[in-house]
């Protein structure tokens, strides 16, 4: 808001104070995760709690590696998230192109149907989907997460909106006169134009799949097939909890995301707002 500059400085400092308090509250759990991840359990259980990083960074992480297949789980998450992201980008842009630029009977109705599916809570079909996966023999198989994940109504909606405003009809008409097939038009005209939309939707989908928990928990039962989220939870299973070890695993699973975010934070924040606002 554009306020008059003569506002009392006291109010300004209060706003600063509020922002600083909230920022510290946001950042503190990250710092504290690191403190716990580097301290031995004996230090962690004392009162008052330790507040300075210790020297057990490596040994705590070694305990994580002994307890869960950390790297395997990270790899599983990476495979699942990137396969779904690439698949969703292709399928959704194809469908978005069709809904935005191709005439066919029932187009509006079919599109409204897709919008309607976004209202359905994913838990509604959870149990039968589990049995479909069982029938397919995909239990503890990454395909159980990947294949249903390729279905993304929001992505189609979003791509349609983007393509209909970003690609002028005249270019498509011109390409047709040159004898381009619809797929050639998609490949040579649509894709280069919508690369920014790929970045945005890609981030949204990747984040959502990376953090997904309930469905992988249900279908990826075998420990070697766990995604990192399911694997991290199993750190909490021990009767005597080693908080240094637990937070070491959580910390190192979170670090890559923080690094990626800090590198691309403008794009990241733009993606999240674009995804919400459209």
């Amino acid at each position: 808001m554009e306020t008059n500059k003569k506002k009392a400085p006291v109010a300004k400092y209060l706003v600063y104070l509020g922002l600083i308090v909230v920022s510290l509250g946001s950042l503190f759990p990250f710092y504290w995760m690191f403190v716990m991840a580097t301290n031995p359990n004996s230090m962690i259980n004392q009162t008052p709690p330790v507040m300075i990083p210790g020297s057990n960074m490596v040994s705590n992480f070694q305990l994580v590696l002994d307890s869960i297949p950390f790297w395997g789980a990270m790899l599983n998450s990476l495979i699942v998230s990137s396969t779904i992201t690439i698949g969703v980008l292709i399928l959704c842009s194809l469908a978005g192109f069709a809904f935005a630029k191709l005439e066919f009977p029932g187009r509006t109705m079919l599109f409204v149907f897709i919008l309607g599916t976004m209202m359905i809570p994913p838990q509604l079909g959870l149990i039968p989907t589990y049995f479909i996966i069982t029938q397919l023999g995909w239990l503890s198989d990454l395909r159980a997460v990947i294949v249903p994940g390729l279905m993304n109504a929001f992505g189609i909606f979003w791509m349609r909106q983007y393509i209909s405003s970003a690609v002028p009809d005249s270019i498509i008409e011109a390409a047709r006169i040159d004898g381009c097939s619809n797929f050639r038009i998609y490949w040579n005209i649509i894709i280069p134009t919508i690369l920014p939309a790929f970045a945005t939707l890609g981030i949204i989908v990747f984040m959502a799949i990376w953090g997904d928990y309930l469905w992988p928990l249900v279908v990826l039962q075998d420990q070697s097939m766990h995604t990192i989220q399911v694997a991290l939870r199993s750190l909490m299973d021990d009767r005597v909890r080693d908080y240094g070890m637990i937070l070491s695993g959580t910390f190192w699973a979170t670090v890559p995301l923080i690094v990626i975010f800090l590198l691309f934070n403008k794009l990241f924040i733009k993606s999240i707002t674009d995804g919400a606002v459209k």
Binding site: M119, G125, L126
Partner: protein, 327 residues
């Protein structure tokens, strides 16, 4: 949402234009139409195929399964509405519904208000280092829900040495058994939701505020509107679509809460933090009561519909009464 309508209008214009425009030989446009039909259906077919297998069929089957007793292995036995009777007579079901709503309110209502205030602060011309604050506030969103739940499970640990207990201890408060206390559990879970989502909603409100044309404020200032009047009559009404969006997604998200209680209270779960989805999950994959779990899924579906409709209804009413003030 406003932009959606605008875009839809725009694309309609394009379409009507392109319908009139092509004056090429008739033969070609006829075959072109056929080709467009063929590729149109082909390009959208993957979604519909996937949705048939992993959407329509499971949903219909859930409705079917809700009327049967089934352990997942043996024969199914038709039981009529008995599964619904069972869950409606289970105090734990009602407890889980109550918990879901209470935790949802505790986690989202204060959060959205704080997010709105933060967005105001970050949008003010008087504040410097905005990008640093924005980054700090948004960072929790990058953390996965599971990681958030684990970190806060340790912060709210039951031991005397737990961070929150140690802090409260400085004021002479006895250690709280967070994972077993009725309100302790809810406070801990609501804190997790608050921490992860407040930055996300702030960023969305901020985007909304930055989209408001500044000449609106200029005009209001010339007319002698105070800061408060500007906020109430310009900022809030213009933010309406954003507020609707955040309330809507927060409500639906809160109704589906699962990971936080599942991690905080352990795999077996406990009544203090039991949510509807956790209740469903335990029924199905803990006890193999797939019939009653399906009944719960259907009840959840209707609860979500009711809450969504209520949301839209109130959102429309609030917006309308304020818009009068703008014009």
């Amino acid at each position: 949402m406003a932009r959606l309508q605008r875009d839809a209008g725009k694309s309609n214009d394009h379409n009507t234009m392109s319908n009139k425009e092509p004056q090429e030989p008739k033969k070609r446009s006829f075959s072109q139409r056929q080709r467009n039909m063929a590729s149109g259906y082909m390009f959208i077919s993957p979604f519909y195929l996937l949705f048939a297998v992993f959407g329509v069929f499971p949903i219909l089957y859930s409705f079917y399964l809700a009327f049967f007793r089934w352990d997942g292995l043996g024969d199914m036995e038709y039981v009529g509405f008995n599964n619904f009777n069972i869950i409606f007579n289970d105090p734990l079901f009602w407890k889980s519904l109550y918990n879901t709503i209470v935790i949802g309110l505790m986690g989202t209502a204060p959060q959205l208000i704080v997010a709105l205030l933060l967005a105001f602060a970050l949008n003010s011309v008087l504040i410097k280092y905005k990008s640093v604050f924005r980054l700090a506030i948004f960072l929790p969103y990058v953390t996965s829900i599971v990681a958030v739940a684990i970190v806060f499970s340790v912060i709210f640990s039951n031991q005397e040495s737990g961070l929150v207990n140690a802090f409260l201890g400085m004021f002479g408060v006895e250690p709280i058994t967070w994972t077993r206390a009725e309100w302790g559990t809810k406070v801990a879970i609501a804190t997790m939701i608050f921490w992860r989502w407040v930055g996300y909603n702030t960023i969305i409100y901020l985007a909304g505020m930055q989209a408001i044309p500044s000449d609106l404020y200029e005009a209001a200032k010339i007319d002698g509107a105070s800061l408060r009047q500007q906020i109430w009559h310009i900022t809030i009404p213009m933010l309406k679509p954003f507020i609707i969006f955040t309330v809507f997604t927060s409500t639906i998200g809160a109704l589906q809460i699962f990971a936080e209680p599942h991690i905080f209270q352990g795999r077996a779960g406990r009544p203090e933090g039991m949510s509807i989805v956790l209740y469903l999950y335990r029924d199905a994959f803990g006890s193999n009561f797939f019939g009653t779990a399906s009944a719960t899924a259907i009840v959840l579906f209707f609860i979500i519909i009711v809450f969504s409709t209520m949301n839209l209804y109130f959102a429309n009413r609030i917006g309308r009464s304020k818009k009068v003030g703008v014009k």
